[in-house]
């Protein structure tokens, strides 16, 4: 009797979360696979199976090729930027002081804002009639094409992503720096090591796990860049800044090709997981080489 009651109580505690999770997260992952094999338009109740046609379309879709290249570029350059600035500033604001906690707050605050707002704000600053260009043109200068030239727009987008995001990396690296053994740093300094040598040979190896975490997180986050594209460039000029996530939602909801969009989602999910896995493995191998 008692064990039945305990069993009921346990079920009441575990089942609601489990069932909801299954219905809205586990089933959808399976459905994404199924829908990617159909021609679902988002409205019809019974989409028909089209086999691997959506995946075949992926290979020849020129928009997707362009957006895959842009997305990888954003992910690679953005990851480098986030981590160089993140680690650099972490070293500069390390240690407890009022000034340091102020700087940390200032570096971090863009992360509190939604990416949508960040994009609208920067487009009002860097657009053709935006703050910077009005400032230049009222003084007789030429308009700078921050958002209107394809190459400039890509660079601008990466720069804004880094501006908005590196504060998180600063905080993560700061946490990592607390784990660097102070005795080791002191010993190296007593032995006459220069600051760079201390950083290169003591601090950086001890930061190994932090570096891995930061790189993987940056990559995974940047590979799904979407909101900022909507507000900063709306994918333009000429579709140049459409990321894969942007294209997925555009194909799905603007062009009503949810089957095709699902196929892209499935590929994005696999690529993201694979890249995260590869980077983790590579970093681990690198760390082992350092410790040998």
């Amino acid at each position: 009797m008692r064990s039945t009651r305990a069993g009921v109580a346990t079920a009441i505690m575990v089942l609601p979360a489990t069932v909801l999770y299954a219905v809205m997260l586990v089933v959808p992952v399976g459905l994404a696979l199924y829908l990617s094999l159909t021609d679902w338009d988002g409205f019809s109740a019974s989409p028909s199976l089209v086999g691997a046609a959506n995946y075949a379309d992926l290979l020849v879709d020129p928009d997707l090729r362009r957006s895959a290249i842009v997305t990888l570029l954003v992910a690679a350059v953005g990851t480098a930027g986030l981590n160089l600035l993140g680690l650099g500033f972490a070293l500069l604001v390390n240690g407890a002081s009022r000034a340091n906690s102020f700087f940390r707050m200032v570096l971090f605050y863009p992360h509190v804002l939604s990416a949508l707002v960040v994009g609208f704000l920067w487009s009002a600053i860097l657009g053709t009639t935006g703050a910077v260009n009005s400032f230049i043109t009222t003084r007789g200068g030429e308009v700078l094409p921050f958002l209107s030239d394809p190459t400039w727009a890509t660079i601008t987008m990466i720069a804004v992503l880094v501006w908005a995001g590196f504060g998180v990396n600063v905080v993560l690296y700061l946490a990592g720096l607390q784990a660097v053994p102070a005795a080791l740093v002191e010993a190296a300094e007593i032995d006459g090591a220069t600051r760079w040598q201390v950083f290169r040979n003591v601090t950086l190896p001890a930061l190994g796990p932090s570096v891995t975490v930061n790189i993987v997180l940056s990559l995974v986050t940047l590979l799904k860049t979407y909101d900022l594209v909507v507000s900063l460039t709306a994918g333009g000029p000429a579709g140049q800044t459409q990321t894969v996530a942007y294209l997925i939602l555009w194909n799905s909801f603007h062009d009503a090709r949810l089957g095709f969009g699902s196929a892209q989602s499935v590929v994005l999910m696999i690529v993201t997981a694979a890249l995260a896995f590869v980077v983790t493995r590579l970093r681990r191998r690198g760390e082992m080489a350092v410790h040998q």
Binding site: L25, L35, H111, V112, F120, V168, I248
Partner: protein, 274 residues
Amino acid sequence: MNRYARLVFLSVSALFMLVPLYVLVVNAFKPQQDILANPFGLPVEGLTLDFLAQALDNPQFNIFRGYAVTLLFVVAVNVLSVVLAGPASFVIARSPRRRYRLLMLAFLAGTFIPSQVLVIPVVYVLKTLGLMGTIQGFVLFETVLTLPFSIFLYAGYISTIPSTLDQAAAMDGAGRLRTFWQIVFPLMRPVVATMIILNTFSVWNDFVNPQIILGPGSGLYTVTTGVYAAVSQYSTDYTVVFPTLLLAIAPLLIFFVFMQRHIISGLTAGATKG
């Protein structure tokens, strides 16, 4: 780098970080021709509250309604998330059984799935359940997105609470549910606070899910989807853009300034979930 060079460099960097915020604030109080003529100047001559008032009274997007709707979602998701994830984490953390370890793994796997990938099939599920375009559907989906990381954090935290506490409660005749809510849950305050901060920001700032699940047809605007509706077509009318954006970010920024230490650690914990 010596101390002064470091301070100078950091101050210049801080300035660069703050310039966009400065531009946003000063231009929210200027008419269009002043913004174009002198975008970086303080609004001394043409200082006006008209455009802020217009943004407050925008027929396309009522910002107060936007705050209220978003706040409702934030509260609903936070409450549901704690009520669902808390007890489940307790059972998972306290049971040595294999099935609960598997369940934990299943929840953990969910932290790696980006919600953009889910939104298409979730539309299908919600349509099937008749919840597409409804508040319930949106709140349920947002709640589910919080479950994996909540359960991961909560279960980890509960395992640091001595189980002798539960045993004592059980001896006194408390059932499992009561033991959790009356004995264990009050001890989980720090970790629950972290999750609430995290969920508050992720629901408040979410754009894709409300835009697609609620849709423009529902007439329900969160702060982000409302900003999109109000700003995207008028992106060069800066008397709309700056005041609307200022109103959209003001509550969160104020919250951030007062609670920065908790928010920074909470959001950073959240960032590590990927």
